[in-house]
């Protein structure tokens, strides 16, 4: 069941904003990889490069009251929802000024005030939390929605499938966004499922469709229609966005980087790059002045540079604070230290 109305695209300024956000998502990741290599980021980073149109297109349909749940590949979602790159880098660098005070790191960045419930290290596990948020919106009569993001690989995780059903029977304002980038680490989705992903979702009763995840306008249109329907009490839907990750599954310092995916496949997807596509459309349609792109790119680079600087200049948590935040309410001896 396709959405009943196709929303119009917003004005040029807004679309230029999408370009800027997509650019920010990409540069954020590219710099994060450098920070990994330089030893500033300890641990693993999953790059979102190639999939920017999905997060930016979907989040363009949301307000800060709406909720998203994210994945191990979460930076893009958080930035698209309005996350602050400075506090994100600070988190990646394990600083007290990070979103999670350095407690979470890449796979757990969250900004509850922006409705960002957090990245998640367990595939599929964030989705049901979105349902709980959606129910509270409904219970309080608020018009907000929840958007769980997840990958193609997650389509085989039981809790996600259960969540499809639960959203349907509770008629929750939820838009499931599946980022089908074709792979779960090494395994092609075609070997791990049969049939179309969006049709599987439809069988649970979700309004489901597939869109080109390399086209931010297409993602926006589909998301906006689904969001509008959900806000109006029309229930949950499912959006399969087909895209590609340009990078490896993840990067960590010192781990060899070899990509076994077919070179032609990689080239093909890169040839459909979402950022270039929107830039081309804006130019073709005369929606931005000459030179605007270079200006924006510089602005993004400056923002990134400032954000990294902020992170680098922030302090790390004090070892004595190791027990903090485990509980809202502590007791004598709880949490227990490991040495007394």
């Amino acid at each position: 069941m396709p959405p009943s109305t196709t929303p119009d695209l917003p004005d040029a300024e807004t679309q230029i904003g999408w370009y800027q956000r997509m650019r920010l998502l990409r540069r954020f990741e590219q710099n994060a990889v450098e920070l990994v290599d330089e030893g500033d980021i300890i641990g693993i980073v999953h790059e979102y490069v190639g999939e920017e149109a999905i997060a930016v297109g979907a989040c363009a349909a949301l307000t800060e009251h709406d909720v998203i749940t994210s994945t191990h590949r979460g930076h893009g979602h958080i930035l698209a929802k309005g996350g602050d790159p400075a506090r994100m880098y600070a988190e990646l660098l394990g600083r007290e000024t990070g979103y999670n005070k350095g407690r979470g790191g890449s796979m757990h960045i969250a900004d509850l005030d922006l409705g960002i419930f957090g990245a998640n290290g367990i595939v599929g596990a964030g989705a049901p939390m979105g349902l709980g948020a959606a129910h509270m919106f409904k219970l309080r009569g608020e018009p907000h929605v929840a958007v769980p993001f997840f990958g193609d690989g997650a389509m085989n995780q039981g809790v996600l499938l259960e969540s499809f059903n639960l959203a349907v029977i509770m008629e929750l304002p939820v838009i499931f966004v599946c980022e089908n980038n074709g792979y779960a680490i090494t395994t092609p989705i075609g070997e791990m499922t049969r049939g179309e992903l969006f049709e599987r979702a439809a069988a649970f009763g979700l309004a489901a469709e597939a869109v080109d995840g390399m086209d931010v306008r297409a993602v926006y249109r589909a998301a906006a229609a689904a969001v509008a329907r959900a806000r109006a009490g029309g229930g949950p839907s499912f959006l399969e966005c087909r895209a590609y990750r340009y990078s490896l599954h993840n990067v960590a310092k010192g781990v060899p980087r070899e990509d076994d995916r077919p070179a032609a496949e990689q080239a093909d997807w890169r040839g459909r790059d979402a950022i270039e596509r929107l830039a081309g459309e804006l130019t073709e349609e005369g929606l931005w002045p000459d030179g605007a792109r270079a200006e924006i790119d510089d602005e993004v680079d400056a923002e990134i540079e400032g954000a990294i600087g902020f992170a680098r200049n922030s302090r790390r948590p004090d070892p004595d604070s190791v027990l903090d935040h485990m509980y809202a309410v502590t007791y004598p001896g709880l949490p227990a230290a490991g040495w007394e």
Partner: protein, 323 residues
Amino acid sequence: MARELTYIAALNEALHQSFAADPSVIMVGENIRGVKRSETAGLDGAFGADRVIDMPISEPAFTGFATGAALSGGRPIVEFQVSSLIFVAFDQLVNQAAKLPLMLGGQRHLPVTYLIMGAGAGGGRAGQHSDNPYPFLMHAGIKTVIPSTPKDAKGLMIAAIREDDPVALFAPAGLLRREGEVPEEPYATPLGEGVVRRAGDQITVVASGNLVRKAIEVAETVAADGISVEVWDPVSLLPLDKAGLAETVAKTGRLVVFDDSNRTCGFAAEVSSLVAERCFHDLKAPIKRITRADVTTPFSNPIEYASLPGRERLEAAVRALLA
């Protein structure tokens, strides 16, 4: 005369009062609506199907649902119909709810209550319906309480709902129909406070849930031979009243931990090792554990009971330590 209620009715009253007091309280679980004589009786009628939600057989999804609701201003209660069902939702309990507050750097509290009904064995419930899996949750850092009286059932249910962290409340199968005095007004029984259920000075028996009664019976039995047993009920297992534990051991110098969960890495191991570290110089004898055998609970009556911690074995352990 003071009013008496069954344990299950005490839980029911706590739920009704909590729903009435706070509109953010909701409850999810299987078959919790339209039921009679259960802990959820009357809730949906009084508070509506939007707050008392019958769930499909999707424990992981509805446990995660509760986490999300808690992050969004709700104060959810999740009911597990059978204790062993927590394993089905274990990722959502252990990787998600238990870990989120710290991983979020304290951005939000996570007030969720897990109500685990009919925990424990007895009466042929067999391998998959007889667990008492609180040590799993304690090891994961989830606050855990086991009321041993109807009064505490009500008070701890209310306290758990009010607590700004995940709390698991285990309602032992063997206690649900027991009656006891229960005050009518709402009240919270504090977490982290153990109770001396019977005073004595020669040996401490730590017992919780349905074992408290058995421990007291054994204490009465051996009292006839001049053995003075103190029965200490932790009530709240995490947080544990470590000071209260140290106090009773300081007084008696001897300890048996009588516990109805698996032995290896169980609750009795934790209590014993705390005492071996902190109260070593008070100890006059080895610390004994009387627990379940480390086997799947067998179905047939004679072996089911042989697998569980019983009065005879507790009595033997008490006598041995004083011999």
